[in-house]
């Protein structure tokens, strides 16, 4: 056991962890995945899309939980479909729905999951307790998992997915059913997986805020197709031209100045002033503030870039050909 993370960043950092070529999955007459071509590197990856877009199917195909109809996929450099066991030894997965084994206590369940991944019993038990500590479960780990609250079940799912020290972890809607405090705690944990411990995270969610907070790379899927695949920074850069300004006073002056320059602006319910300055850079806005001698408390560039990109992508996908 070592406290030092393996250097996932250096080792084959440039090699894609996920690569697909014309990946297609058909259920009856419905194409859940329609020729998906992707090359995704290590990092925190957000998989976005409306319900039924194909996010979960994409993850399940990579994990071989669903057979691929056509095309091919590689995960961690190995061919999905031919090296399933070896791939899954290095991959963690938390499904959307509850999946504990009835009658088992939390720590027994996580130990069992570790054994299924090939850890010897003693190591599995020790590791299970470490992971349950990591996800913040206390004495309730000795209770049967059937009696757990939704929050505890989510933590248990996270613990079982990490117990064998995977290189990549797939999280399917990990904050579903959690209260805001629970959501924040789980997101913080997930965030630390890549940033502090070098584990690649693939987060599937329809909650843009979760993805925005954690992920560096974004994949937007709709109708089984990849609409957008880029880094979050690039997406935000594409949609620069709007900013939210927080001022202690002088909002009226700023609003008036914006109108003179024909920059649409709007006072938001939270007191922020949203300004569309129509520039890739913040400099025109900063110059204006300087001219007005206003000192902003905060400037949030492209505050809704992800949401806007998401909506725009969906509009394009729904538009008739």
């Amino acid at each position: 056991m070592s406290g030092q993370p393996p250097n996932h960043h250096d080792a084959a950092a440039s090699a894609p962890v996920i690569a697909t070529q014309d990946l297609t999955k058909v259920f009856g007459s419905q194409r859940a995945l329609d020729g998906v071509n992707l090359r995704v590197g290590r990092g925190a990856i957000g998989l976005l899309g409306p319900n039924g877009a194909g996010k979960s199917t994409f993850m399940k195909c990579l994990l071989q939980l669903q057979p691929i109809t056509s095309g091919s996929a590689q995960l961690l450099g190995r061919e999905v479909g031919r090296e399933g066991r070896e791939i899954r030894k290095r991959v963690g997965y938390t499904p959307e729905q509850d999946c504990h084994i009835p009658g088992m206590a939390g720590c027994e369940y996580v130990t069992y999951c570790a054994q299924l991944c090939g850890l010897p019993f003693q190591a599995a038990r020790q590791r299970a307790h470490e992971m349950l500590d990591f996800v913040g479960m206390g004495q309730e780990r000795y209770r049967k998992a059937d009696t757990y609250s939704t929050g505890m079940k989510q933590r248990l799912k996270l613990a079982q997915a990490m117990v064998h020290d995977p290189e990549i972890i797939f999280l399917d809607e990990p904050t579903n059913g959690l209260d805001p405090k629970g959501q924040a705690q789980i997101l913080e944990l997930i965030q630390s997986l890549w940033r502090a411990y070098g584990i690649t995270v693939v987060l599937s969610s329809h909650l843009l805020h979760d993805v925005d907070r954690i992920c560096e790379q974004i994949i937007i899927i709709a109708r089984g197709r990849v609409l957008v695949h880029d880094t979050l920074d690039n997406l935000k850069a594409r949609r620069r031209g709007a900013a939210e300004v927080v001022l202690a006073d002088g909002q009226d002056h700023l609003e008036a100045a914006c109108r003179r320059r024909q920059w649409p602006c709007q006072l938001l319910p939270n007191g922020h002033l949203k300004i569309e300055h129509n520039s890739a850079s913040l400099n025109p806005l900063l110059n204006l503030l300087h001219e007005l001698k206003l000192a902003p408390l905060e400037i949030i560039p492209s505050p809704n870039a992800l949401e806007e990109t998401f909506v725009q992508a969906l509009e394009i996908s729904h538009a008739p050909a």
Partner: protein
């Protein structure tokens, strides 16, 4: 504040092999089964029956010793009975293939079939713990996302059923044979009793494998525990009730009962007809006793419909495999 580091630690140990992972699935399933109090009692009952069988074999062995405690005890009951026992002993000493082989063949045939009934009952109670629960709770997804394949999972569950039946059937049978012959007055008992053991093992291993596969199939039919257990018991009981009716109408319908098929297979393997014929030819008293046995019973003993039974079992096994293949998927 935690007393120790609760941060994430990477693991760099050596992974276990595939067979260890399959064993984990099997042993975990067996542990889950034995958490059921009823199943523990049933297993205890089977081992108690094994002890009773051992005692019976011990008493029969003592009959072959002229001045044994048993013969003396019979003499205390009645001097005439003691005279009969001594004559009987002389006959048996002259024909060890009858006294040991035939006796133990008959005893292990009935003992085996009796324990088989208990094992089928135990398997019915264990059915929900095999696949049903994993389907109902979505735990099947967790198995599918770990470093085991569907085949590994099914092999593990198959071994769970096999392990349970070893506990309630094969274990007690082998223990009774071993202890019974160990307590016999002569080491040659082991030699003469080799055929009954071979018969018991042949029948036992075959039926264990078949019943385990059938149990997996029934367990995979539904995701509700009560449904699969009810299906197992219904098939067993209704099939058993149908046999005497079908015997007079459509005899082939009897093969729809797995219990009937297993009985016929046991008759075919133990070949009790041959054993009784040897006894009849060598020991006059057996000849007199067997003369009273109805002709159709002897005919059934001599030529059971083994091929029909084997075909019936094969079809059931194929059906079970088909159900498992169709139902045991992660989604």
């Amino acid at each position: 504040m935690p007393l120790h580091d609760t941060g994430y630690q990477h693991w760099q140990g050596v992974h276990c092999g595939l067979w260890r992972r399959r064993w984990t699935i099997a042993s975990n399933g067996l542990t889950a089964c034995l958490q059921n109090k009823g199943l523990r009692y049933l297993a205890g009952l089977c081992w108690a029956a094994a002890l009773a069988m051992t005692a019976l074999l011990f008493l029969l062995g003592q009959l072959l010793v002229a001045d044994s405690i048993v013969v003396q005890w019979i003499g205390n009951l009645s001097p005439d009975l003691q005279g009969f026992a001594r004559t009987f002993t002389t006959w048996l000493e002259q024909h060890p293939e009858v006294s040991v082989r035939t006796t133990q063949d008959v005893l292990f045939f009935y003992f085996g079939l009796g324990l088989l009934r208990l094992s089928i009952f135990a398997l019915g109670m264990a059915i929900p713990f095999l696949i049903t629960r994993d389907l109902g709770s979505n735990a099947i997804i967790i198995y599918a996302s770990k470093a085991v394949s569907r085949g590994d999972y099914l092999l593990g569950k198959f071994c769970t059923a096999l392990g349970l039946m070893t506990l309630t059937w094969l274990g007690p049978v082998c223990a009774a044979w071993l202890l019974g012959n160990l307590l016999a007055p002569d080491w040659r008992f082991f030699w003469h009793a080799r055929v009954p053991l071979f018969h018991a093992l042949l029948f036992g291993l075959g039926s264990l494998a078949f019943l385990s596969l059938l149990a997996l199939g029934v367990s995979a039919v539904a995701a509700k525990e009560k449904s699969t257990a009810a299906l197992w018991f219904s098939w067993w009981v209704l099939g058993g009730m149908m046999v005497p009716i079908a015997a007079h109408t459509n005899p082939w319908l009897r093969h729809a009962s797995f219990n009937f098929n297993l009985d016929q297979l046991a008759l075919g393997i133990f070949r009790l007809g041959d054993d009784l014929k040897i006894a009849q030819e060598n020991i006059p008293i057996f000849g007199m006793m067997l003369g009273n046995v109805p002709r159709h019973t002897m005919a059934a003993l001599n030529s059971p419909p083994v091929w029909g039974a084997a075909l019936g079992l094969l079809l059931m096994a194929a059906l079970a495999a088909l159900v498992v293949r169709k139902r045991v998927k992660p989604e």
